[in-house]
Subunit: 319 residues, 2 copies
């Protein structure tokens, strides 16, 4: 105990300095993201971002339509999923659109599964007995090896680049790769290794751990707010929730995470026994973000849509 | 050359004996399969067998209905496919039904993919650059290692048994595991290791190779005829083809391989750019084998439906 106490006496002030310095540095860059992108700090910037592309044909088809004809202006793709080749082929042919990777280490549905992209026994810590990813974040966090995670995430990036996608950013399916400080470090590092922005915000539980704060540089973009519907919002009605989000959007860089798919046979079967983030939920997201009302609310509230490509090219890849 | 010539002089008569002996042995057991199952050799025995379960929700749903309400009396499941857990859960709850494994080492569709069940670098010879199985049999035959194949096939059997399926037989998706004598040996051996009958017939190109003939024992069941629609049959109309098959069925053990799915959005997207064995083809199979006409033709022609479970329990697992 005394040794530990002595250690803390010497180290604690230094740790405090590091944490304080880290927060200052991050706070400084975070509040200035808008200005670094060429906007005013009073502007309401928004990424309307569809998650989960590649998970199903229904998700691909609805998300493409919501991007082409609706208000969705960015999306991320799940490389290990069965329908990845379909959305990869589309993304390759539409380099002007904003596609990142929804880094995936979980396989959460009941009757429809996938596993790692990195085909090796070293991935064993991320697989259940059937060879699939675990269906929940707790198991991933408890059993997954962070070094192995980095290999898997790098493989997902390589496969996407090989498929011809101009990857604009990285984010995290179910937040699984943000579950521990070690995982979050691996996630941030894979972004740096490919000069890609990674989605970060202060809602991530381990975001304020000292080792993460020490990693942060001016090239890391921490969005001011991540917004996403929760089960209670779905219960109250998605139109009501999204209308409120757009009417009350605050200045700064906001990222609204949605899931666009059709409430069709395929999606109903995939999301069976799981109404939260299920097929009706995804149809409601699709309906709102392809509606005239959504476009009108964006205009009425002076909301400026920004893409991850802008962030990547103006900040992450700035000289 | 002289050495080789001398070798051939000594060995050739012996080889001829082995081939002759092998053919005799196989011919003897093949013609007696009906009697060994307890039928007359004049009986027209038929397995109406749906392939490809697990490939899609559409395939699972249609095939279950065609088995529950139609004339389909046996089916095989693709373990490496995304929808395997759905059909595995059904099979586990329906132990009375006849489910085998459609051993799979190809992933043939354009935008929808899967890869090996055995998660190891030793599977590299069966994977393309994206980590999926090759989409054609020629690549599998040219690049795949037969010893590694055996490990993959055994893994598929283990995963199916672990999922609670009472596996009744093994067969081969696209015939890929029958492509070379070494592959065919591995396939037969995996069946023996689990006391499971494997689908064999003399239509398999390498079936009459000496090393295969030498393997054959009285426990191996070579069906008298494998019947399956080809693109020209689909072009002429499936109703016409299947009507002819049933009206002209010969005595002995016949296996009719079909593919039942719905011509729906999911199946259309999976089979895109591939009308042969596509969604309309599978809907036509479903339509015929759930029709009153099919049931009437079976009755009118005195056709007896037999299952792989009968074969497994009366021949493969006979004391």
């Amino acid at each position: 105990m005394s040794n530990k106490s002595g250690y803390m006496k010497k180290v604690f002030p230094f740790l405090c300095f590091l944490i304080f310095f880290g927060f200052q540095q991050v706070a400084a860059q975070a509040t200035n993201v808008a200005e670094r992108l060429g906007y005013s700090k009073h502007d309401k910037l928004l990424i309307i971002h569809a998650d989960d592309l590649g998970v199903a044909h229904s998700e691909n088809k609805a998300s493409i339509k919501a991007m082409e004809e609706g208000c969705v202006n960015s999306a991320s793709i799940m490389v290990p999923c069965p329908w990845f080749p379909e959305i990869a082929a589309y993304a390759k042919e539409h380099q002007e659109m904003d596609f990142g990777l929804h880094l995936t280490v979980t396989s959460e549905w009941k009757y429809y599964k996938w596993g790692p992209s990195y085909w090796s026994h070293i991935m064993a810590s991320f697989r259940n007995e059937q060879g699939y990813f675990y269906d929940n974040v707790a198991d991933v966090a408890a059993k997954g090896n962070p070094d192995v995670l980095k290999t898997e995430l790098a493989t997902q990036v390589r496969l996407a680049l090989n498929a011809g996608i101009d990857v604009t950013h990285l984010d995290a399916h179910m937040g699984a790769v943000m579950a521990t400080p070690e995982f979050l470090k691996a996630y941030i590092q894979v972004g740096r290794d490919h000069s890609l922005p990674v989605l970060l915000d202060y809602g991530i539980p381990v975001m304020d751990s000292p080792e993460i704060q020490q990693m942060m540089t001016e090239k890391d973009v921490v969005v001011d707010r991540v917004l996403t519907a929760m089960p209670e919002d779905f219960a109250d009605g998605m139109d009501q929730y999204y209308t409120k989000v757009l009417n009350e959007l605050e200045p700064g860089l906001n990222c609204l995470l949605i899931h666009t798919a059709y409430d069709d046979e395929e999606m109903q079967a995939i999301t069976i026994d799981h109404p939260d983030w299920g097929s009706a939920w995804r149809q409601a997201d699709y309906d709102f973000f392809t509606s005239d009302k959504c476009a009108a609310l964006l205009g009425a509230n002076g909301i400026i849509l920004v893409t991850w490509r802008e962030i990547r090219d103006k900040i992450t890849r700035a000289e």
